[in-house]
């Protein structure tokens, strides 16, 4: 009996592996249901991990306090100069826009949550975020953290969503590289640093060139910072600004592209970003949001 059961379980594992490889829709659906069911448990279980990480960071910060203070003073000086330049450029841009009668880019809304599970193993570089369809998250939406673009949503459950990271084997992101805005595709290969592919033959890429999303294909907003070129010879690789292995808080950008709308169907009525009551201006009440551990900000320009 035991032998037959074991054989049946091995067989079931192999069948599931084959169906997963064939990207069976039912398998994906069942996985989504179970992810939703397990997300409250993961949310609770991730709290000690988050606390431990924060304690470690605080300890390191405390030990480096004086060095950090010197560094921040120096950085502050540099930033003051940059602030002055940015303000000057902003005024100039505003003036030029008014001369050209240019259309303003639409503002993006976003919801922020935290990572409750990350992928381990050879297959996927992804994270599970405690934001789902209830908070307005849909498949295809871009995910960023404080350092820049990190990936996009591939499965949105009711209360949790799976985001594929830019270094995942299946990730392909249209990007622009350097000051010349050379078009390329950022290809994940499960390593720390994704590759740049499909660069024009005549293109010259230098180490340190900034890489950001190009917005081509309409899936992602334009101009989300990703990282810098880390190799000046082929294959060109990109060192991401975000530390993909240590993600904690992330934001999902509600970017309404025609491609996402076609794939995912219409958004629920009222553009609900989080369940719960709204105040007089139609904004969700802060108390409800706190209870859900979700911060939602509206009409904020994407970073």
């Amino acid at each position: 009996m035991g032998g037959w059961l074991l054989f049946a379980l091995y067989f079931a594992s192999l069948v599931l592996l084959v169906f997963s490889r064939l990207e069976n829709d039912q398998i994906r659906e069942v996985r989504g249901i179970f992810t939703d069911l397990l997300s409250p448990i993961l949310h609770a279980a991730s709290q000690p991990a988050i606390y431990a990480r924060r304690s470690k960071e605080q300890l390191v910060d405390y030990l480096d306090l004086f060095d950090e203070l010197d560094r921040l003073k120096e950085e502050n000086q540099k930033l003051k100069i940059w602030q002055w330049r940015a303000q000057r450029l902003e005024r100039r841009l505003e003036h030029m826009n008014s001369l050209l009668n240019a259309v303003e880019e639409t503002a993006l809304r976003y919801a922020s949550g935290h990572v409750i599970a990350d992928a381990r193993g050879p297959f996927a570089k992804s994270v599970l975020v405690n934001l789902g369809r209830e908070q307005g998250v849909r498949n295809g939406y871009a995910v960023v953290d404080g350092d820049g673009f990190i990936g996009r949503i591939v499965h949105s459950g009711d209360t949790a969503s799976r985001a594929i990271l830019i270094n995942d084997l299946n990730s392909r992101i249209p990007v622009v590289v350097g000051p010349a805005a050379i078009r390329a595709v950022l290809v994940g290969d499960n390593t720390n640093e994704p590759r740049l592919e499909f660069l024009p033959d005549s293109a010259t890429v230098y180490e340190g060139d900034a890489v950001s999303t190009s917005g081509h294909g309409g899936m992602l907003p334009r101009g989300l910072q990703i990282g810098v070129v880390s190799r000046s010879a082929e294959p060109y690789r990109v060192q991401t600004n975000a530390r993909l292995g240590e993600l904690e808080y992330v934001s999902v950008l509600f970017y309404e592209s025609p491609v996402v709308a076609a794939q995912d169907g219409p958004r629920p009525s009222g553009d609900t970003v989080a369940s719960g009551e709204r105040d007089g201006e139609g904004r969700p009440q802060a108390a409800n949001l706190r209870n859900k551990h979700v911060k939602v900000k509206e009409d904020v320009q994407a970073r």
Binding site: L6, L9, A49, A119, G121
Partner: protein
Amino acid sequence: MIKRVMPSAVLLVAVVIAAVPWALPESAIFILPLLLIILVFVLTVQQGHELPSLSVFAGGLIMDILTAGPLGYWAAIFLLTHTLAGLYRKRVKRRDFGGLWLTFAATAVAVSASGWGLASLYFVRVIDWQPMVIAGVTAIALFPLVAWPMRRSLGLEPATIFSGRR
């Protein structure tokens, strides 16, 4: 009843803990899942209530769901560990800790190699073997740390582990 359910419950809790984001370095991505094979091994080898195959399969499947890998991968890896540990449980009558550790080392090598082979087969390309080796070696090194308190908590005196008596 509690003693019968305990091994399955311990495994399920450990699976959830292993999936939580601990901010491990990239080279260590396999370590937590492979540490679970220590648990599967010990819970299978232990005296008294054995870890049921169904729980092993379920634990692997949950791991697959939480790690976003293909369903069946960690289930197959856990089942292989369970099978090899089951052989030790049935065949070896006089146990000592050194022999147990050696058996686990052989199991960890077999499991790591199978995991790497299965993943390469799945992707139809040779995947990076280094994280798997790091995880396998770590699992072998950490085996005493996990096995010792586990067996004690299941009602065995620590001395029986090291004395070679059953």
